[in-house]
């Protein structure tokens, strides 16, 4: 009997692990959005090449192509499978973080890589994606219990382990990106608002601690100082330079100062493509990575800057739309997680370049040069594209053919 078969097939939905036909059914608008951003990234890298090297441009294109493979993977795979195996990945990422802590190679004074000969492995990047899956698993596992304080708090411990390991590297930026992720996912998972407020209050108590940290800090004394938060000298110097903009232009304050000039001098319409003097004259270091937005703002002005922010905004809101309309809890949480991580990077990076926040290494999606991060972003995009597909799939398999079967299928949520 046809209806029975369909009934059965609903209950045991045939799960194909990798379904490449998904690629055909993804949301076209998000794809276009991403493409636009990627292309802008290349355009900017070409400008960078004028004062640095063309290798950056070629590599960016390479990153994009590799990223597409990653995206296809995340689009095609059934995300429920990944979520179910999340705890394993979580443990794996902790193991990798431990490995890099003991065996990693130093780059600019912090251990972040494991050198595998051909390429470098950066575990802290993976942990972002893994955390999204893991938190999804955890929050859907406990479901309503998240409203209980106990389970709520446990979440923080679960996140705290990898966060502490990343912080030890020391990689303040990546560690910080996990914080809004936790909050957003908890919120969407349905925790009690009161609890969140409590935690935020607790967090705000950091301020006096920070004040204590910085109180006796003398930036000209070049030795490690007392610290309760485990902040290193150069990190304190950055905070100090942020609070006292006139201090130490040449070193710590230089980036922010120059970045503001770079952006500001772009004016409404910018100095023109390839004509950015600040970046060409090497006044602004690192303009191919963390300060790429400054280059954009210098060459394309306020108009260019706002346009790119708008593009990012559309991408993020679309992602949230997917979250809102997702079929199941997992989908919602995954989408929210990805959006939060992306939003964090976008907001913090641009805030740093415009002088609203002290300098830390947070790259900008699609625009900053950097392979590992590009992969993370493309993975995230893949996940976003995947979420609405589940609903489509379910809808497809549950087209009611007879009244009798309508009862079987109940739309939930």
């Amino acid at each position: 009997m046809p209806s029975l078969r369909r009934f059965i097939s609903h209950q045991n939905v045939s799960v194909r692990l990798l379904n490449f036909t998904n690629v055909m059914r993804v949301d076209i608008w998000l794809i276009l959005n991403v493409l636009a951003l990627a292309v802008i990234g290349w355009i900017l890298m070409y400008s960078v090449a004028r004062s640095a090297s063309t290798v950056y441009l070629y590599r960016m294109i390479l990153f994009f192509c590799s990223g597409v493979v990653v995206t296809i993977f995340f689009v095609s795979i059934d995300y429920r499978f990944l979520v179910n195996w999340a705890p394993l990945f979580y443990l794996g990422s902790i193991a990798l973080l431990l490995v890099v802590l003991f065996f990693g190679t130093e780059a600019k004074g912090s251990e972040r890589w494991i050198n595998l000969g051909l390429f470098r492995l950066q575990p802290s990047e993976f942990s972002k994606i893994i955390m999204i899956f893991f938190l999804t698993w955890y929050l859907t596992k406990i479901g309503e219990k998240i409203r209980k304080l106990g389970w709520f708090v446990v979440t923080f411990f679960l996140v705290g382990i990898p966060l502490a390991l990343i912080l030890k590297q020391p990689n303040l930026g990546t560690a910080a990106s996990l914080a809004p992720l936790v909050f957003a996912m908890l919120y969407v998972a349905g925790c009690r608002k009161v609890h969140l407020v409590l935690v935020l209050l607790l967090g705000s108590m950091l301020v006096p601690v920070l004040w204590l940290e910085m109180k006796d800090f003398d930036p000209s004394v070049e030795k490690e100082t007392q610290t309760t938060l485990g902040l290193k000298h150069y990190q304190k110097k950055r905070i100090y330079a942020f609070l006292h903009p006139e201090y130490d232009y040449r070193g710590t304050g230089w980036h922010t100062y120059q970045s503001k000039i770079t952006i500001g001098s772009g004016g409404i319409s910018g100095k023109g493509y390839l004509r950015g003097t600040q970046t060409k004259l090497k006044y602004l270091p690192e303009h191919h990575t963390d300060f790429i937005f400054s280059l954009l703002a210098e060459e394309f002005g306020f108009v260019g800057g706002v346009m790119v922010i708008a593009l990012f905004a559309i991408m993020l809101f679309r992602g949230l739309m997917f979250a809102r309309d997702a079929y199941d809890m997992q989908g919602t949480l995954l989408a929210v997680g990805v959006v939060t991580v992306l939003a964090f990077h976008i907001f913090v990076n641009i805030a740093i370049t415009t002088g609203l926040l002290p300098v830390t290494g947070i790259p900008l999606p699609f625009l900053s040069y950097g392979g590992s991060f590009y992969m993370t972003v493309m993975a995230g995009i893949g996940i976003l594209l995947n979420v609405p597909l589940r609903k489509k799939e379910v809808e497809q398999q549950n087209m009611p053919t007879s009244i009798a079967n309508v009862e079987v299928y109940r739309r939930k949520g």
């Binding site: 429920r80 500001g264 905004a313 907001f347």
Partner: protein, 643 residues
């Protein structure tokens, strides 16, 4: 596997998602506002800063520490070298040609070269291109006065090392060279950058950290129509003028961080004495060492042939520089007082005499008989004394004076090789003296252990030490080698009454000396012997070093002749003049002065001089005579007692 209940989305989730959306929107709006503030509201300010008034971060290079000799004479200092550079990107395209023309006329540069260089950097228009290096003051003023006619052209001042004494003490100075990767890795934290100059060799290397100083920084706004001017004061230090060429007052964005000059280095060297020693070594290869015997201060450390470190001052390889560095013979870069090693020859006997007396194997009156040759236990191979007829019966005093080989063969056998090695090291031979300069050689006193280690994987008969080797060693031949500096330290030990001093060049580095190593009686006896070597008294016989005698001065000394080729090989030459230069012996003379202030120890080594007494001793005499005549006129000579 799917549990629909757990997948269930609770009511209100959509609203929460939307709230997240609002939060993100607010954050992005904030960014937009900040952009507005920077790019629209403050546009004037920022574009002024970026376009017309550019912030220029200038590194203020630190002066290198100045090196002074004993009396304040400047040996090495800095001068300002002015280069002219052009940044094509800052020159409007239509003016570039005219500018190049002007540069060609005024500075006499090769126009084609310049055009080539500018073309080559077309992709990086804002890089600096060197137009001319080290321009004259006249040219500098001309370029700076005509800034408005030369957009994109600017002068850059570099402090540059200047060696004022030419070849005198050239090898001691060392020289500066560009820092290489290995050195850069080592010194990264200390503020070194690619392209910095760092000491290579000599004092410049040893005291690099003292001399280097610390760079400063300055932030200056640059007006589109003018250039910030860097002027130099009389001493060659760059000063920052507060006005540019148009007369705009320059705006310092932040207080400049001044450069901290390197520390000055005060050396113990007496330059007049050093010059005299160089003059005495003219035409020869060799060295002269003069130490203050009581403190170890190095008064002169001469080596010939030498070189002028100014050859290395400008970058780029020149023929002269390549010739020096390639080790063409004779090697001018090696300092023959502490880096070259030679067999000590008879000056080694000083150590043996002191050792024998101290060990109570002999005393002042012990006599051995020299028949002209010696054999171990009376049989087997015979070693000859330089005097074939034999000296007859003599004591240690006379043996030192006449440099009798046989006496010391006997004494050496009694001492045995282990004690010889031990006492050598005690007196400073075969070990680095610890002088504060780079590149000191340790020399070698062979002994049982050394031989065993050298031939570790060979059969026992090759590893073993034979008594015949002790015999050879006793007169300073065989495999043993020392540096003239070490020999001077040994002599100083006798002169100052039995202490070993550590030679030092930097005034603040010393004096350092050991505890008393020899008893007064030992010293007295050895001194007698060394005095007799130099004294001219009637009747004969006199010692071997009488050509160092100065009437009225208590000079002690010892001659030495270090064999390079075996005597039997040389016997085929009838006359000394016939022996080819490289086969002649090295001529040693080491001396000390006891009755003057300060007491000095002098060692002269003339390579291939062939006879210590006749060639090296007169040189020592001249040095001593000059020194005391001239020291009498200098107030800087005082005795500082050791520990």
């Amino acid at each position: 596997m799917t549990d629909n209940r757990e997948q269930e989305r609770y009511p209100g989730i959509e609203r929460r998602v939307q709230q997240i959306g609002f939060a993100i929107a607010a954050a992005l709006l904030l960014l937009g506002v900040q952009l507005w503030r920077l790019q629209v509201l403050s546009l004037n300010e920022f574009s002024k800063l970026a376009e017309s008034n550019r912030i220029w971060q200038k590194r203020l290079a630190a002066d290198r520490g100045i090196i002074y000799a004993r009396d304040g004479e400047v040996m090495a200092d800095n001068r300002a070298r002015v280069d002219v550079i052009i940044i094509p990107g800052e020159c409007p395209a239509d003016a570039l040609d005219t500018v190049c023309e002007r540069l060609e006329t005024w500075l006499n540069v090769d126009r084609q070269e310049l055009d080539k260089k500018i073309k080559a950097s077309a992709k990086l228009p804002f890089s600096q291109i060197l137009v001319k290096r080290d321009i004259s003051r006249v040219d500098q003023i001309r370029v700076e006065e005509n800034q408005h006619l030369l957009p994109g052209v600017t002068t850059i001042v570099h402090p540059q090392r200047r060696y004022l004494l030419g070849e005198t003490a050239g090898q001691i100075m060392g020289y500066l060279g560009e820092i290489n990767q290995a050195e850069l890795d080592q010194r990264q934290e200390l503020g070194y950058f690619q392209g910095d100059l760092i000491g290579k060799g000599g004092i410049e290397l040893f005291y690099e950290s003292l001399l280097h100083g610390q760079d400063g920084y300055m932030l200056v706004t640059k007006y589109a129509s003018g250039q910030p001017q860097l002027r130099t004061d009389k001493a060659g230090r760059p000063m920052i003028a507060r006005r540019d060429t148009i007369g705009h007052l320059l705006n310092l964005e932040a207080p400049p961080v001044p450069a901290r000059s390197g520390e000055a280095l005060n050396l113990t060297l007496d330059i007049d004495l050093q010059r005299k020693c160089d003059a005495l070594l003219q035409g020869e290869q060799g060295s002269i060492v003069v130490l203050d015997a009581d403190t170890g201060a190095v008064l002169a450390l001469a080596s010939a042939p030498g070189y002028d470190p100014s050859v290395f001052v400008n970058r780029g390889a020149t023929e002269e520089r390549l010739a020096l560095l390639s080790g063409q013979k004779p090697n001018r870069m090696t300092h023959r007082a502490f880096r070259e090693v030679y067999p000590p020859g008879s000056v080694f006997k000083i150590m043996l005499a002191a050792a024998g007396l101290e060990e109570n194997l002999i005393n002042a009156s012990t006599r051995f008989h020299c028949s002209g040759s010696y054999a171990i236990d009376g049989k087997g191979r015979r070693w000859n004394c330089w005097n074939r007829h034999g000296h007859g019966s003599l004591n240690v005093v006379e043996s030192l004076a006449f440099s009798c080989d046989v006496f010391f063969y006997s004494l050496g056998r009694r001492l045995e090789v282990d004690r010889i090695v031990a006492y050598s090291k005690l007196m400073g031979l075969g070990v680095p003296t610890g002088i504060d300069i780079a590149g000191e050689s340790a020399g070698l006193i062979p002994g049982r252990e050394w031989k065993a280690a050298m031939h570790a994987d060979k059969p026992a008969w090759e590893k073993q030490w034979y008594p015949g080797e002790t015999v050879n060693l006793s007169i300073g031949q065989g495999s043993c080698t020392t540096t003239p500096l070490q020999v001077t330290v040994m002599m100083a030990c006798i002169v100052n009454g039995g202490y070993r001093v550590q030679p030092f060049l930097r005034q603040e580095a010393g004096p350092k000396r050991s505890e008393k190593l020899f008893s007064d009686t030992t010293i007295k006896t050895v001194t007698e012997g060394l005095r007799m070597c130099v004294e001219r008294k009637k009747p004969a016989p006199t010692g071997t070093g009488t050509r160092a005698y100065i009437d009225g001065m208590d000079i002690i000394g010892k001659t030495g002749t270090a064999q390079v080729a075996s005597l039997s090989f040389l016997s085929k030459y009838k006359k000394t003049e016939d022996i080819p230069y490289p086969l002649r012996h090295h001529a040693w003379f080491t001396a000390g002065v006891l009755d003057r202030t300060p007491r000095i120890a002098v060692t002269v080594l003339i390579e291939h001089g062939h006879a210590g007494g006749s060639v090296a001793a007169p040189v020592a005499r001249d040095v001593i005579e000059y020194f005391y005549n001239h020291a009498a006129t200098k107030p800087s000579y005082t005795i500082t007692a050791g520990n």
